[in-house]
């Protein structure tokens, strides 16, 4: 069941039909396991169809692996501060070893959603890095990928520290400041609290959703075992009663299969979207951290400028020959400060837009997920009712 995330910026049309509507459509397909043992990895086919002028052609197919997606995400995160970068599925070193079909499919789906979200985002879709990702050949991609690990990858420890700063008002040891520099914006405070609490709630819901998948599997297994036992009993009893047991056993086994199917559906169409939601919130937290950074920089520069101003005045008064130098420095600082302010304000503006978009998008995403969930449960329950109901006339026959 493909989630309806394949949104395009315009109508989706074949590249050949003449159309003035710009579109960019991407799909991640055909996972293939490559390599051996610890080195094993999955490669995916990424197919791009577009009429954007910046692109090399109407269609392009490239091979990408998970770390390529990570590269893209990191680049976007660096360049587009303030925008909620779509989340990636977890690295998961453990599951990688098993590479079960289910895991591979889940990952493929998540990566497909990831790229499509970027492609349908007004700003992100213009990104040069996206173009590189969608078009560069494998060798180039490999070079870029390994080059970036040193510089742009944030160490988990750093990330955690930033989160801590935002979440609790602990003094910023890294900067050597005693008082944390924070925005005093009540609405923004509210938003931050909301985001952090939301993550907790969602994580819990997702946990139960995952357990529910397991329960479906377990129930399926026990129905299968029960069915077998009933069949054996039926064989032992013989006659009408034996037949009844055999029929029951057969039905039970049929239902077991239905349950396993539904478990898979539940995983893909309900649990995954919930997990995705959690990741999205975590991505917002990263943006919040960036905003805090930008704000701090802006404040620092403002402080530094003040000091420089005082210094400059002093120098001017004393008619020092260092005035010229100081003036240049001051001008540079002024420019930097303006830049920092711009950066910060851009982030604020973008975040305000993003949060609206995010809430709307999530309502749609969840609406779809709920629908699929309810549909699946109804389908399962009806299947169960039908299967058992069909057994009743047979049981009637046995007792006459």
């Amino acid at each position: 069941m493909e989630p309806q995330q394949r949104s395009v910026s315009g109508s989706s049309q074949s590249p050949r039909s003449p159309s003035s509507q710009p579109f960019l459509s991407v799909s991640v397909t055909d996972p293939v396991k490559l390599g051996n043992g610890v080195q094993a990895y999955i490669s995916y086919r990424v197919i791009t169809k577009t009429n954007f002028p910046e692109y090399q052609g109407p269609e392009k197919i490239v091979i990408r692996r998970y770390s390529d997606f990570v590269w893209l995400r990191d680049r976007l995160f660096e360049k587009y501060k303030g925008i909620f970068i779509p989340p990636l599925p977890e690295k998961s070193a453990v599951e990688k070893f098993r590479f079960s079909a289910e895991f591979i499919e889940m990952r493929r789906q998540a990566l497909d959603i990831f790229v499509n979200r970027i492609a349908s985002h007004q700003e992100l879709q213009q990104s040069e890095d996206l173009r590189t990702f969608l078009q560069a050949d494998e060798e180039m991609m490999e070079r870029l990928r390994s080059h970036e690990t040193g510089i742009f990858k944030k160490k988990p420890a750093d990330l955690m520290q930033i989160f801590k700063d935002v979440q609790s008002r602990v003094s910023d040891v890294v900067l050597g400041k005693e008082k944390p520099v924070e925005e005093s914006n009540p609405e923004y405070e509210k938003l931050k609290n909301y985001v952090f609490e939301l993550e907790n709630h969602l994580a819990e819901a997702q946990k139960h959703a995952y357990r529910l998948v397991k329960r479906h599997r377990e129930l399926g297994q026990s129905l299968s075992d029960f069915g077998k036992a009933a069949k054996l009993l039926g064989a032992c009893e013989g006659n009408a009663l034996g037949k009844a047991f055999s029929e029951l056993g057969a039905k039970s086994e049929t239902l077991s299969i239905k349950l396993q199917k539904e478990a898979h559906q539940l995983l893909m169409s309900f649990e995954e979207p919930l997990k995705d939601y959690v990741r999205a919130v975590q991505s917002i937290k990263a943006t919040i951290a960036e905003r805090a950074n930008a704000f701090r920089q802006q404040c620092e520069l403002a402080e530094t400028i003040k000091l420089k101003e005082i210094n400059l005045d002093k120098l001017m008064l004393t008619r020092s020959d260092k005035v010229g130098e100081a003036e240049i420095e001051y001008k540079e600082l002024k420019a930097a400060s303006e830049e920092a302010t711009n950066r910060f304000e851009t982030i604020v503006r973008l975040m305000n837009e993003e949060i609206v978009r995010f809430q709307e998008q999530k309502t749609v995403d969840m609406g779809i997920a709920f629908h699929e969930f309810a549909k699946g449960q109804a389908r399962l329950a009806n299947g169960i009712a039908d299967a058992w109901r069909s057994l009743l006339p047979k049981l009637e026959v046995c007792s006459s």
Partner: protein, 564 residues
């Protein structure tokens, strides 16, 4: 959907303290034969104080109350089901199962049992062989009493008695309602006496003795478990078409004061009895009273007989010659084999039934937890809402959460019923014990016959030898003639005993046969009812659950765009 504003939250509170559900206490298996502890604890955990479900059920497999068995298919109050309307599928939504016994107040969802008033028997749902006879036994009111007679322990021995109330219309009882107080020891006595009198019958096994400390004996839980076990046992006895008319049972149920049945505990005097008899037996002088043949050889009493029967059985197994009488009834042997096989399959099925019940329970629980989590989310989004899209989402979540909580409740109800239906497996597994008992009655009776026949053979050959030896002496051998006469007397007595033993053996064989017939018929009926009940139950609740989710699917259908 929004109408059920508070319902979701109420239901949330229902499950607020569901730790009880989550902490399944596993009782140690009290029955050494089968450990159904997980199943039983699942049963007891289903006794959720929030729901008016059945009271906590005890942890021994022999304990499931026969009255809690599902009503037979024909007992349905719902007429539409009688009409075989599979063309127009009846909605099973209104069908809920309640146990027969209104006394214990078991009402599911407050819906009264359709057969509460019919009250036809205190037994499994099939109607008893004789049309309108019934015996209904209730065990209640446990009380501590003191042992009045000399006790070595200062402070005296306390024990528990139970009030046993019988309601019946069987004329032989002479009254329609009466009560007595009995203690567990009395049950043991009753059970032993029945085993002696009804050899070859499928006599229901009594509850275990449970050798535990006196402290535990008096604990509320233990006493309650025992009460349930006793009630179940007595009801099973009343259910048996032959045993229900027995003197032993009558006496047990009616005679006030001390139970006037010989006890089994008189070991000491029996030992003495046996010791006094032994020298006589060893010298072949004592007459074995024929009626004593009827009982299997017991330790302490019939040492010599035991030795002889043991020798015989060894000769049967290892000796070259065929024993004088063998189990010739091929049909019986086949059925015995089948019973053994059946027992194995029942055990397997009952285990899998346990797992199924557990899986259904887990499903219900997790579904409920999911619903709760979403209710919290709904509240959160509503409180913190800055955008309308959040409110919309909160409303969607609420719909989902409410459905999940409802579904969870249905799963739990479904499971409570499933437990009762599938309990039939456990019931019959317990019954297998009595079947085995009846078969061993037959084996030991056969052994007695074989032993006596061998004995007779050896007596005859001794007599022959004596005769030929004494005939060689002219004028006769006074001492030998005397011995010969004694021997002939012994032969006569043993011949009598042999005839009695053969009659007994035949009697037991006949009991076996008729009981097997009865078992087959009742088993078929009970299991078919179980299957129907189980299936109907599944259908009913699956429909309810489907409805709940269909509604949510409809409400959220607007989100699904046509796939590109």
């Amino acid at each position: 959907m929004m109408g059920s504003e508070n319902q979701g939250f109420e239901e949330a509170h229902l499950y607020a303290s569901k730790e009880e559900m989550e902490n399944l206490v596993l009782d140690e298996p009290l029955n050494d034969n089968k450990s159904h502890s997980n199943y039983r604890s699942a049963l007891s955990s289903l006794a959720d104080t929030h729901h008016p479900l059945s009271p906590p059920v005890a942890a021994t497999p022999a304990d499931s109350d026969p009255l809690l068995a599902p009503p037979s298919y024909s007992d349905f109050g719902n007429p539409s089901i009688h009409d075989n309307s599979y063309l127009d599928p009846p909605s099973y939504a209104d069908v809920t199962f309640s146990p027969f016994d209104g006394d214990t107040g078991n009402d599911i969802n407050g819906i009264e049992s359709p057969s509460k008033s019919s009250d036809n028997s205190g037994s499994l749902s099939r109607s008893p062989s004789s049309s309108s006879e019934y015996i209904k036994i209730t065990v209640s009111n446990p009380q501590k009493e003191q042992e009045t007679s000399n006790s070595l322990v200062p402070g005296g021995n306390t024990y528990v008695t139970y009030l046993i109330t019988t309601r019946t219309n069987i004329p032989e009882f002479g009254a329609s309602e009466f009560s007595v107080r009995r203690r567990f020891r009395d049950i043991v006595t009753l059970s032993d006496r029945l085993a002696e009198s009804y050899r070859g019958y499928f006599v229901p096994p009594r509850p275990d003795k449970n050798v535990v400390e006196s402290q535990v004996m008096q604990k509320q839980e233990f006493v309650e478990q025992r009460r349930v076990a006793l009630e179940k046992y007595l009801r099973r006895l009343a259910d048996h078409p032959v045993i229900r008319k027995s003197d032993e049972l009558k006496v047990f149920l009616q005679v006030q004061g001390k139970l006037p049945l010989p006890t089994s505990t008189d070991v000491a005097s029996r030992m003495l009895d046996g010791a006094a008899k032994l020298p006589k037996q060893l010298f072949g002088e004592s007459a074995v009273a024929p009626h004593e043949i009827v009982q299997p050889a017991k330790g302490g009493r019939d040492l010599l007989r035991l030795f002889k029967e043991l020798r015989q059985s060894m000769a049967n197994d290892w000796g070259g010659s065929k024993p004088p009488v063998v189990e010739e009834d091929k049909e019986f042997l086949e059925r015995k084999e089948k019973m053994h096989e059946l027992e194995q399959q029942l055990s397997n099925a009952s285990q899998q039934a346990e797992s199924l019940v557990k899986a259904q329970q887990d499903m219900g629980e997790t579904m409920g937890e999911l619903g709760l989590a979403f209710i919290k989310l709904t509240k959160f989004e509503n409180e913190e809402a800055m955008f309308n899209s959040q409110r919309v989402r909160a409303a969607d979540m609420k719909g989902l959460a409410t459905a999940a909580v409802k579904a969870s409740r249905f799963y739990r109800e479904l499971n409570a019923q499933t437990v009762k239906h599938l309990d039939t497996f456990h019931e019959y597994l317990g019954l297998m014990l009595s079947v085995n008992g009846a078969f061993s009655d037959r084996s030991s009776a056969l052994l007695t016959v074989q032993t006596l026949i061998s004995e007779l053979d050896s007596l005859h050959s001794r007599a022959e030898k004596l005769e030929s030896a004494s005939s060689k002496i002219f004028g006769g051998d006074k001492s030998r003639i005397h011995k010969l006469e004694e021997l002939k007397e012994t032969i006569r007595v043993t011949e009598d005993a042999k005839n009695v033993a053969i009659r007994e053996y035949e009697r037991i064989k006949e009991n076996n046969r008729s009981e097997l017939e009865r078992l087959d018929a009742e088993r078929k009926s009970d299991f078919l009812n179980m299957l129907k009940g189980f299936v109907l139950n599944q259908v009913g609740y699956a429909e309810k659950i489907a409805n709940v989710w269909t509604k949510v699917a409809e409400e959220t259908s607007g989100y699904v765009r046509e796939s590109s």
